[in-house]
Symmetry: C2
Subunit: 194 residues, 2 copies
DNA sequence: CATTTATGACCGACTGGTTGGTCGGTATTG
DNA sequence: CAATACCGACCAACCAGTCGGTCATAAATG
């Protein structure tokens, strides 16, 4: 099976955007790296901005679906939190470039695109928030947790990984995920649950 | 006392870069916002790139100095870690725009500038790493901590704040800092120390 | 003290190179 | 014989940076 041209464009631009940023890469460079022509590019994408959106959307849609399915099973909050984090961190291996672009270049999204991405992003955040809230309610987590800050702290810890993680590095993404889970649960579980 | 033109340029560009990114802002816009001329701009800065570097350098130099002085006092690791985090997070109030530019736009630094910033950045990271290492050695922190991942987890949690913190928000930066410290110490302290 | 010379802050019209995007055309496929 | 996929020379807009010049103040000169 031959790689679709559309895929080739996305893959090429992903590599380039990750390294040089959206505005640090020209359409000509993308086209050259993908081994196609300018006309070919504009046959598949209406603009450079649309390409940026597509990259964002592929990523956030995928992540959101996984988190939602991890969250559906009726298991205790701590178990679900573990599963959501594990799932999300594992995404770094395959989607590292998407992720980097997602977190670095989203300011350059056009308003209409930004709106769509923002909505999905908040749904994802909502999932984590609700797990923590539930954990606090059931007494599994510490009663004195702030739902809002705890959510952002976890998201921050996890998201920041894109700044330093390398597939060739010492630790595998699985190890890092397990390590994060350990840290988070130590921070969040109530004394009686530990 | 009148504001120096140089200061005016930095303040104007900080606001603009924070919202639109380095490449989303033209020199003409900066000049207009600062209420000066293009000539005036290039009289004070050799290039737009140099301006970006200056913003980076002001921030990292300040942060590094504070962390170094918090770290010097010969206090137990947990106390020092507390102090470093409190100090760093407090910086968000005054330097939020610097910080945002620092984390978003550093890919656009020219190699020679990047080198300088990178070095200071690693010194900062080194300070946190050494506190954690010491804490593990003295037994104050859990023996099974990975120095490297723990450092990055803390940095991630804290740094991510720039994505959501607003001075007008519900929680003050002091509260957020204290909250982070609480989470981190729960995650990191050995059972005997708790 | 008056006058010339020098310096440095600041101005803004202009430019050369670059970039996202277009468009008329060709190749391929069902 | 459509229709769709793809090509690449070309263009208009934009943007960082330049450059010849003004003005105000200070130092040097007679």
């Amino acid at each position: 099976m031959e790689t679709e041209l559309r895929e080739r464009i996305i893959n090429a631009s992903l590599v380039l955007f990750e390294r040089h940023g959206f505005h640090g890469v020209t359409v000509n460079q993308i086209v050259e790296t993908a081994g196609i022509s300018k006309g070919g590019f504009y046959h598949h994408f209406s603009s450079k901005d649309e390409l940026l959106f597509v990259i964002h959307d592929i990523f956030i849609t995928y992540v959101l679906e996984r988190a939602a399915s991890s969250n559906q099973q009726s298991l205790p909050p701590a178990t679900r939190l573990r599963s959501i984090i594990k799932d999300f961190v594992s995404v770094f291996d395959i989607y590292k470039a998407h992720l980097t672009v997602f977190y670095q270049e989203s300011i350059y999204l056009k308003p209409e695109h930004e709106e769509i991405v923002k909505r999905k992003r908040q749904q994802f955040k909502g999932i984590i928030q609700s797990v923590i809230r539930e954990g606090v309610d059931t007494g599994e987590f510490r009663k004195d947790l702030s739902i809002e800050i705890t959510t952002m702290a976890i998201l921050g810890m996890v998201n920041w990984t894109y700044k330093w993680y390398q597939r060739s590095g010492e630790k595998s993404i699985e190890e890092i995920a397990d390590y994060y889970i350990d840290l988070i649960l130590h921070a969040v579980l109530s004394d009686s649950t530990k």
